[in-house]
Symmetry: C2
Subunit: 206 residues, 2 copies
DNA sequence: TCGTAGGTAAAACGAGCGTTTGAATGCTAC
DNA sequence: GTAGCATTCAAACGCTCGTTTTACCTACGA
């Protein structure tokens, strides 16, 4: 993580992601971050202006990719005529799984994202809604097409529940512990399979 | 909240709950807490010993009640011969709803609980598992009886997903905004109805 | 070769942190 | 009424926080 061929900005972002995931935004200090990144303390304010803005950049770095992949997968699923509910769910869920398994710290990012929900920060919510609201709209439309008998508002509720369960599962909040002999990757993939099966049945509920 | 007929300890616990929910454990200072509680700064260390211990007491105050109510409701549902899956889910979910609507700050506590999951604190997880693990066991047994064809491990996964979705819904993490003219109470009750319907279908999935 | 701009460095700023201290206060039992 | 105890209070402790300042390095175009 601290290897020298990453730029100062990249090393700060990586270290901040890890430490925000572990200790929270208030709990991780810039002195911890810069020490972990092996850069000078003043580098954060030089490159990012403030701690607040560093937090925003930690989000931007990952979310653009995540939601682009979701749209990409959704388009693929929509193109095929034989795609079902599980395929749509997979388009939404698997990119998050891939990110959580990314070896450059994506797993930490999912935990950061979960913290962001807990922060209940209005500015951040607006940022998420403004930048990624269209993704939710696209998925809603796709699901609505497959579930023509489901009330629109009811569908919104159910998608919200799925997003919550996904965040919870990917951030490893749950009580189910990984068994010895099962890799982290396998554990997460199983969680996704269970989640998709569960969510598909929930969506099909009358 | 600051009315004088509450004891100093009670006023500190109430103010701490609110501020931990809003700003997190690290983000809320004892100066903020004692100011909101209208007590002297030194009162926290006098009555609770440390900030760390104050956090523990905030949990203990609510969780004993919550899980006692869950067991109570579960026993009631189990006693009736015509009880179904939805009744069991209700026994698990409604006490959390009631707590979230409690006018003495229970709503804030649910958000504190969600933060605790995000903290990923091993000591806290052990505390929760030690003190309330038997509740999950009771519910697992009850669900297993109603779903004899469902694999035991599969059931654990699904209950974990439901707990995640519940935490997410009750802590108001979701993107669904309360419409004007709908009270907070009504909004939460609708969330619970949706959640129970969704979860019941998910549990019945093959 | 020199001037300049981009980046890094160490040190310090004022503010706020959790905690401790010791004196003042209120209450109860004698 | 007063001794003894629990509680409250103002003040201060040492420390860490995010941020700013100022000096220094280094590379590159003129």
């Amino acid at each position: 993580m601290n290897t020298q061929h990453f730029s100062t900005k990249e090393r700060i972002l990586g270290a901040a992601e890890q430490l925000f995931a572990t200790h929270g935004f208030a709990g991780a200090s810039l002195r911890q971050v810069t020490a972990a990144a092996n850069v000078n303390l003043a580098a954060v304010n030089y490159h990012f202006g403030s701690k607040e803005n560093l937090i925003n950049e930690v989000f931007r770095r990952r979310l653009d990719d995540l939601n682009a992949h979701r749209i990409e997968e959704l388009d693929k699923a929509a193109a095929r005529t034989d795609s079902d509910l599980e395929d749509l769910l997979s388009a939404f869920i698997r990119p998050a799984l891939d990110l959580s398994l990314d070896r450059t710290g994506g797993g930490a990012f999912i935990r950061v994202l979960a913290r962001a929900f807990a922060e209940h920060n209005d500015a951040l919510r607006k940022f998420l809604s403004d930048n990624y609201g269209h993704v939710m709209k696209r998925f809603h439309a796709a699901f609505a097409q497959r579930l023509p008998n489901l009330d629109k508002e009811e569908l919104y509720w159910r998608l919200d529940i799925i997003a919550g369960a996904l965040t919870y599962a990917m951030a490893d909040f749950g009580v189910i512990k990984r068994k010895t002999g099962v890799t982290e990757q396998t554990h997460r993939e199983r969680a996704v399979e269970h989640l998709i099966r569960f969510a598909a049945a929930g969506l099909r509920a009358p």
